[in-house]
Amino acid sequence: MGNKQTIFTDEQLDAYQDCTFFTRKEILRLHGRYHELAPHLVPMDYTNDPDCKLPLALIVNMPELKENPFRNRIVESFSEDGMGNLSFNEFVDMFSVLSEMAPRELKAIYAFKIYDFNVDNYLCKEDLEKTLNRLTKEELTPEEVELVCEKTIEEADLDGDNKLSFADFENMISRAPDFLSTFHIRI
């Protein structure tokens, strides 16, 4: 435990354990992973909260995210500046929401953010098209994309405004029980 203790103080670890879904061990492991991404940038000693942010390009190269079609959106949704620079705390946040223990509501809110490419608080057609292109690697013709998006909106839009609000999205999620297990990244 000797050298592990120097990364965080006990108070810091308590705070992490109280505010996220991780245990002390997982926090230390996450720190290890974060440190691994940029060994020369990230200090080993976090006891005095160093101000250190890693750019998006480094983070999306993690094996857990590397193949994810939404990797950039995930990282951007959790970064405070919206550009994808993550501090360690935001990094922990990201995996906390994506962990097994996070409740459905929290996951739904972040999933909505991830799919909301243009950050207008609605999933409009444009967002859905981008989502679809990422999911299918742009193999569908534009007409097909159009059709699928229209169908999606038609099916999920309850209030008839031709775009999906968070309420619509949550309503859909509540009927898709797999969401809890699929919106989950093991660290």
């Binding site: 308590d14 354990q17 245990t23 994810n68 169908k151 029980p177 797999d178 699929t182 989950h184």
Partner: protein, 972 residues
Amino acid sequence: MTSYSNGGFFNHAYHDSETLEMDRRHSSKTHHTNPYASHDPASWGESSEFPGQTHGYDAVGRAPGGGWQGESWRGRESLPTRPDSTRQHDRNHSTFRTDRDSQYGRAPPYQLPSSVSGNMTMRWRRIAVRRMSMFPDADPAHVAFTEDAIKNEMENEEQDLVKELVAMSTRDRIRTIRDLLMSFEEKKHIRRQVEALKSSYKSRQFTRLADFSENVSLSVRRAGYTIKSTRQTLELWQGIMKEIGGKFGSSVLSYFVFLKWLLMFNIFSFLVNFGFITIPLLVHDPSPNIPQNVSFRGLELLSGAGYFTYTVMYYGGYSNETLEGLVEYNMQLAYFFTIAVYMVLCGIALIFSMASSFRQNYVVAESVSNSAWQLLCSWDFSVTNDKAVRQRRNNLSVQLKESLSEKAQRELPTRSEKLKHFGIHFGSWILSTGLTVGCGASIYYLCRYEQQRATDTENWSLSQEAETLLVPFVVSLMNLVIPLFYSLFNKFEHYSSQRTQIYALVVRNVFLRMVILAVLCYYWMNVVAEKFSCWESVVGQALYRLVIFDFLFLMLGSFFGEFLSNVIGTRLLLSLGIPEFDVARNVLELIYAQTLAWIGIYFSPLLPAIQILKLFLLFYLKKVSLTQNCQPPRRSGRAAQMQTIFIFLLFFPFFVGALSMVAYTAWTLNPSEQCGPFRGFNNTFSVVGVWMAELEEISSSQWAVWIYQNVIRSEIFYFLGTLIIIVIIYIFWHVTKGRQELIRLLRQQIINEGKDKSFLLEKLHDLQKSNLSRNPKQKKQKEHTKRHLDDRSSSSHSSSNAMVQALLARQQFEGEERRNAGGVPVPSDISTSSAVMQAMVARQRAEREQDDLYHMPDEYSSPDSALAQAFAARQRAKAQESDEDNGSSAVMQAMQARQRAEADRGLDTGDLPFPVSNVMIQVMQARQRAEEEDRIQWVPAPSQNTAPPGSSALIQAMLARREAQNEYDDGY
């Protein structure tokens, strides 16, 4: 402003006479869940949000949508989980009025954790949603929102949050903090504030005790985290699970999760049995009493007979003595109660996991819309393997294309096609049922044949022992081969959906296994029990053989099922392709294996040990077979629902079947005379009777005897219990039905709101167009209007500008309020429909007015005068900005303008073409009038202008805001 809000807030009439009970409850619940919230008398004046709320909820009660919300709240109140919300509400109300100057140090009268947390979730929701939509809001009414205002609001929210958190128990607090929609930094900040606040309370009283309890709770918490951490370290196969999930997705992973779960079950049952039955016996008498001529021959590992018969492996190896060591240990009671308690615990664990699984996965038991689901919910974030990701993408695009083309050319099947389908289904069901029945019959006759040959001698020859392997071999073979036939049938059948296809397959397999097990159990209980002298051990051996052979055939199955089809698919018949891992078949195999272990628990208490070994090896076997031979599933099925069904299957036919088999054995069958702990009894259960007879002599345990005689042995108890349970089920069933209805209605409500919104937006759009064309004219008239403002103000007819006026007035009012209140939260107008609606109503009226104008051009009315008036009001407001006391009058004037516009239009509304807006207007007017009257009674007019209308305009503006917020909260 300040005086208004106080007046409005501490106005008893509002609480006691005007509002509906539910509205009050609602309003108090959302905000003041603990008396600390009212700690500072000064803050009341500042908190302009509170009176706003009160009004807002009044409005909800009266507005057309109010009935709805009332409905939903009543629905909530009727929940059995929140029995004390009414009490709490009363407390809150008394707090409002009397505890104005209560300090931080004051302890809450009492705490109601359950309802507090219930309120919390509502609140968190609102905060979360508001945080989401605060910044990118493009509503033009919010241009006036400065950054300061938003910041102030957030700070205020935060303060409230911290106060509420302080009042919670540590556990609830941590859970709530974790669930907050905030970044870690913010959570940490809140946590620190909560802790600071808490320690400041504590420092005032009993410092030492508080310190001590704080330390204790901290160390308990840390110990809890350490245990959690250690448990995670000990958790099996984490890395492998991650790898499988990364390559094959969560549906295949669910098989391994299930396997691990069963393994835990068996480890538990092994520990219980070994600890309470075997260890005491071994401690007492470590050497098994094996006859001289019996030796270990090796075949026992397969057959379980011979040498093993005399060990503690089987029922026969246990004695019926009371072991005399340090304490007396009654083997009979230990055996009976260990098995009974284990079975009950298993049942409870299964019911709980089933219930939680149902709750999670069948929230609303409706099939989700398909393409929306595929697009937004089907992507598995845990997949990290590049090949798997590529394949998933391909599959998804193929599926989407398929569904598109299907939609394009979906045609109803003709009658002959329908008949053909029906015929095929019917035929395959007949065939599969026939196969199952045939299997059952052949196993029965095979058993009879074996029983005729078998003798009851103590030691079998090697060949005799080998003969016993025939039945388990045939049974396992059937279990392996028949499902393959079923899969074959399935290929010819055309089911409308993939799900029905899987269900059909699952049902047939379950039926097959049930029949086989039922036949075996019947044979054991009716034939074996009559014939053999130590029949329990014989049954135990048969089960042991079945378990072992099942394992061997599982290995064979993964060889044939996965390896061979991989070879065939890649070398011989390329059209077949690489096989997929069949989760359903594999899970059913596991369920069958577990059922064997459950049945065997009575006959062979150490069978779980074999089962542990089997599952452990199986995990690695399946993992290797999967990674070597299989490809990720092509269709992303509804894994979670399937898992629920599997747990249900494990419980319903299989566990319940095993339980009834064991219970039947224990209650009815004669235990064998010469071996086992229950020799000499009529049935196993009579051991309890004997024990009770012994206890009767001891006076201190009369209660146990009483319970035995009056509860366990009395029919009336079971009769009443069943009756009560049936009544409870009936009630819950109706509650569920009510909820379903509620969900349906709420969904309808959302749809209606959406329609209203789009309709009104359309109207707004039209209006803006027509407005643009008239604008230049209005500008010209502006000067003129201003001059004559005072003369006209009472009779002016605004036309198209009523809406603009309303917006301006509100905006201004909000700005003013913020200045006065010094940063009290003004909820950003996150809501959509109702705020828009209110604005729309004004506009509609304006439109009508326009029409009138065109018809009566002579009437003294300028379309722009209202606008001008509003401008003037705003100017005045600006002038008075420096003068805090008079600030409110400017607002009032602005409000007045709007109000007058509305009042004037009130006469025309009778024949409005749109029923929705018509009702809205009428309701609003009614409300307004009522409030006016109220105001006159309760609030002294504080300003230079005509105060009563002014104040009511203010109220109305607040109402609008609150309503908007409510609407948004309740929309979910």
